[in-house]
């Protein structure tokens, strides 16, 4: 009976599988992914911090119809310099207790503008551009990739060469040219144009996924049942490619926020009177020696947002990847080992299948 024993996974593997199977018993694919994602500590931490930043940025100085609670109000609110040099009034464990916020927690610039309000406004702009770029790039990338992968042949060839046109040029180069055109007009317009050039990577990945998916049985089944091409693509195949799309959209967004800030830094992105985080860093970099806080806060916020999104993307990738298994703790392994031993003991008392065959 040696051939059966060979096909059995080795002891350790079987135990881990047992845990894995028990955990996902009776759950749908979506529920499994969600559970895995919720258990990913890095991703959850990233999500919480990102939500915090978003809430702080939108509510503090108000956004559109949302009124702000920040007393400076609006962006670029200013006043008399409170602490000489425009130093931040924020104190942690200072003489004024555990946390003292004061009127200008992030400090003031040389003409007394409130750095907190400026930074929050910049954060709003950067977040908004990030979301717009991400949405537009995802929509175009998914459409082009899906059509190329599903129809193959001449259309695939044409669409992929079209993608190559965008791939051969660095995004920052095309972005700078477009930014010079639209940056001074409107942040939303700039975001839309940047979205129009950020999709090629995603298109390639989606195409690869669709090429593989269209050979699967469920696609044949759908076709036999009389489903149209459109329905097969977006009702049957797209949900199966969702993992790739979601993960890469997240990573694309973190690239987008860095692209936007880099362009604003180079002077081809958002320009005064509007503000973005990159613009703030560009304007205040020479003040680093005298007023470092003007430089610290915008930079820290960019890093925080990008870091959170990268962690969320990593968590999503782990959650969607079926090969990825959580390593069971030693305790969980011992517990299943015992259960396994009990099960085997029971089986042995009933009568050995293996022994009879061997």
């Amino acid at each position: 009976m040696s051939n059966i024993e060979q096909t059995l996974p080795e002891e350790g593997d079987r135990l881990e599988n047992a845990i894995e199977l028990k955990e996902v018993e009776g759950l749908s694919q979506g529920q499994i992914v969600l559970r895995r994602f919720l258990r990913h500590k890095g991703a959850m931490a990233g999500l919480v911090v990102l939500l915090g930043v978003v809430i702080l940025a939108t509510t503090s100085i108000g956004w559109g119809p949302i009124p702000g609670w920040w007393k400076g109000g609006g962006f670029g609110g200013s006043g008399a310099v409170e602490i000489p040099g425009g130093r931040p009034t924020l104190q942690v464990f200072g003489e004024k207790g555990l946390i003292y916020i004061g009127n200008y927690p992030f400090g003031q610039d040389e003409i007394g503008r409130d750095m907190f309000a400026l930074t929050m406004r910049g954060t709003q702009q950067s977040l908004m551009m990030m979301v717009i770029i991400g949405l537009i790039a995802t929509a175009i990338g998914v459409l082009i990739g899906a059509f190329a992968g599903f129809f193959r042949g001449a259309l695939d060839n044409f669409l992929m060469r079209f993608t190559d046109v965008f791939l051969v040029l660095p995004t920052i180069v095309v972005g700078a040219v477009l930014g010079r055109m639209f940056g001074s007009v409107n942040a939303v317009l700039l975001a839309v144009t940047l979205g129009l050039i950020s999709w090629p990577g995603l298109a390639r990945l989606v195409r690869g996924d669709f090429l593989a998916l269209r050979e699967r049985e469920f696609v044949d089944a759908a076709r036999v049942a009389g489903a149209s091409n459109w329905r097969i693509m977006f009702k049957h195949m797209l949900p199966n490619a969702m993992g790739v799309i979601i993960v890469n959209t997240t990573l694309l967004m973190s690239a987008a926020i860095l692209l936007e800030t880099a362009l604003s830094y180079l002077g081809f992105g958002i320009r005064r009177p509007d503000i973005s985080l990159g613009l703030l860093i560009n304007e205040y970099q020479t003040a680093f020696a005298t007023r470092p806080w003007l430089f610290w806060w915008p930079g820290l916020i960019i890093v925080t947002i990008a870091l959170c999104i990268n962690f969320i993307g990593d968590g999503l990738r782990d959650a969607f990847d079926p090969r990825q298994r959580r390593i069971p703790t030693a305790r969980a392994l011992r517990r299943t080992e015992k259960a396994e031993a009990r099960r085997q003991a029971r089986a042995a008392s009933v009568g050995t299948v293996d022994g009879a065959a061997g």
Binding site: T261, L266, I281, F295, A306, L307
Partner: protein, 511 residues
């Protein structure tokens, strides 16, 4: 195969033509060469505008101008290049381009090589210590580096590395608490990287912390940083260390002949330090390159002289050792130039510059000039490494993990091979294959210049050329930049495909 190359070539040319055309039209709309004239108050404003319009042929539609530009560039194929003019400074584009290319190459070569070597090294160690403290630390670090905007890091580097270090050089002493903190931090990193049982970790922690503390204390007490040098004794000691480490990794210390030939090479290197001091007086770039080749040859010869059935391995090992010891001797000579360099009048005791690619008006020997270029490279290289290092680490870690779970690695272990052989020969080599496909593409991207890094550190390379021509509405240099970047990217993709096909027999290019 030929069919594949031909088809690929034609489609690449088509892609490039479309890309350059798009950029030409976009840049033509975005950049207005008449902007400064429109707002001017000169009485002959109309005449000036008409003159410039005629010069730049602005009355013709942009597709027509694109074709005439393309005709000039296509002339290169028959030896009559016409790349156009950077009309504001009235320089031919070919001049601007060649100087920019040299600067960019100088900037990115060192950074790329270092980032790849460091990234691969850390990635492999991180993979071998999967799900241990070191691994988690590296994952977090690479995420952090991934999320840092270049321009922000660059300003921090300028402030802390350059200005901070220059201030520190005023008295060049390190306080005992600082020494303690640095030693403990380095000890923790090395201990975590060593992995294994707690005893082993603690031992590595103790040894590396003590060594670091001793070295720092020596540096502080003798003010070594003001007048650094290694000398033959340190070169001998570190040469022996290098020899043992290289042998341990490449053939294993059990291969006695390889170990002895590596040790011999280290000793020979230390002895050669004395005559080399005279050779170095007449040094220039060519001499140094020649000496590097000589060093490798000496290493190979020593390896062969030790003989044995696998002399090839010994030769390879001692050649690597010879090259590294040669680098040490070179570094030692550079250090000797440190004092005259930092005390020269144009440097004024602040040796780490924050801007530019060389100190204007600096006179001195080959060594002083080389040192000057290296100090200028320091900050931009650090900035570039910090950013691309993260990518390589993640990539190499994933690839190494994938390979370590393959059946052939299990087979190699089952055969009873040592862990070193399994990792270095069976796993590591194969884990480099995916990397071979992204490295050409990355190098191509870097040739386009690190646009932001160049801008911040004031290097006039390709990236600066692009930014300047975009801001100045000079289409000719802008277009040549786009053409070069695009062409190099296309070629790099092609090379990557070929390399992959050559390294992985499962891939066929014309399939």
């Amino acid at each position: 195969m030929l069919n594949f190359v031909l088809r690929r070539f034609l489609s690449s040319v088509a892609v490039l033509l479309v890309a350059t055309f798009l950029i030409f039209v976009l840049a033509d709309i975005a950049a207005d060469p008449l902007e400064d004239l429109r707002t001017s108050t000169a009485p002959n404003k109309e005449a000036l505008i008409a003159e410039r319009t005629a010069m730049l042929e602005l009355d013709k539609p942009s597709p027509v101008r694109y074709l005439s530009w393309l005709g000039g560039v296509a002339g290169c194929a028959i030896g009559k290049c016409d790349l156009g003019m950077a009309w504001r400074s009235n320089q031919p584009v070919s001049d601007v381009l060649s100087s920019a290319l040299v600067v960019t190459l100088k900037l990115v070569t060192v950074a790329t090589v270092l980032a790849i070597v460091l990234g691969v090294l850390v990635g492999v160690v991180s993979a071998l210590r999967q799900y241990e403290g070191f691994d988690y630390g590296i994952i977090f670090l690479s995420f952090l580096l991934y999320s840092l905007p270049t321009f922000w890091v660059a300003v921090l580097l300028k402030q802390w590395v350059a200005i901070g270090f220059n201030d520190f050089l005023r008295d060049a002493t390190i306080s005992p608490p600082t020494i303690g903190v640095i030693a403990i931090v380095l000890g923790i990193i090395f201990g975590a990287a060593a992995g294994g049982e707690w005893r082993r970790r603690l031992m590595v922690f103790g040894i590396s912390a003590a060594a670091t503390a001793a070295a720092l204390f020596y540096i502080s007490a003798t003010k070594w940083l003001l007048e650094p040098s290694l000398g033959p004794v340190v070169i001998l000691a570190s040469g022996i260390g290098i020899a043992l480490a290289v042998t341990a990794v490449s053939t294993g210390l059990r291969n006695r002949r390889a170990m002895y030939s590596a040790l011999t090479t280290a000793v020979v290197g230390a002895i050669l330090w004395f005559p080399l001091q005279f050779v170095f007086r007449a040094a220039n770039g060519g001499v140094i390159a020649g000496l590097a080749v000589v060093a490798i040859v000496i290493g190979v010869v020593i390896g062969y002289a030790w003989g044995g059935p696998d002399r090839g391995q010994s030769a390879r090992t001692s050649a690597i050792v010879a090259f590294l010891v040669g680098m040490l001797i070179f570094a030692d000579r550079l250090m000797q130039a440190w004092k005259p360099y930092s005390e020269s009048s144009v440097i004024g005791g602040r040796p780490i510059p924050t801007i530019g690619s060389q100190t204007p008006g600096l006179k001195g020997s080959y060594w002083v000039v080389t040192l000057d270029q290296l100090t200028h490279l320091l900050l931009p290289t650090l900035a570039l490494i910090l950013i691309s290092f993260a990518g390589y680490t993640r990539y190499q870690r994933a690839s190494m993990l994938e390979v370590m779970n393959q059946d052939y690695v299990r087979t190699a272990r089952a055969k009873g091979l040592t862990e070193r052989t399994v990792i270095m020969r069976h796993a590591f080599r194969n884990s480099l294959i995916p990397l071979a496909t992204i490295v050409p593409i990355d190098i191509a991207a870097l040739l386009g210049g690190a646009v932001i890094t160049e801008r911040i550190f004031g290097w006039s390379g390709m990236g600066t050329m692009f930014l300047k021509s975009l801001a100045n509405a000079e289409l000719d240099p802008l277009m040549i930049y786009v053409l070069i970047v695009g062409a190099v990217a296309v070629i790099a993709n092609f090379v990557a495909d070929l390399v992959y096909a050559a390294l992985d027999p499962r891939i066929r290019v014309n399939a």
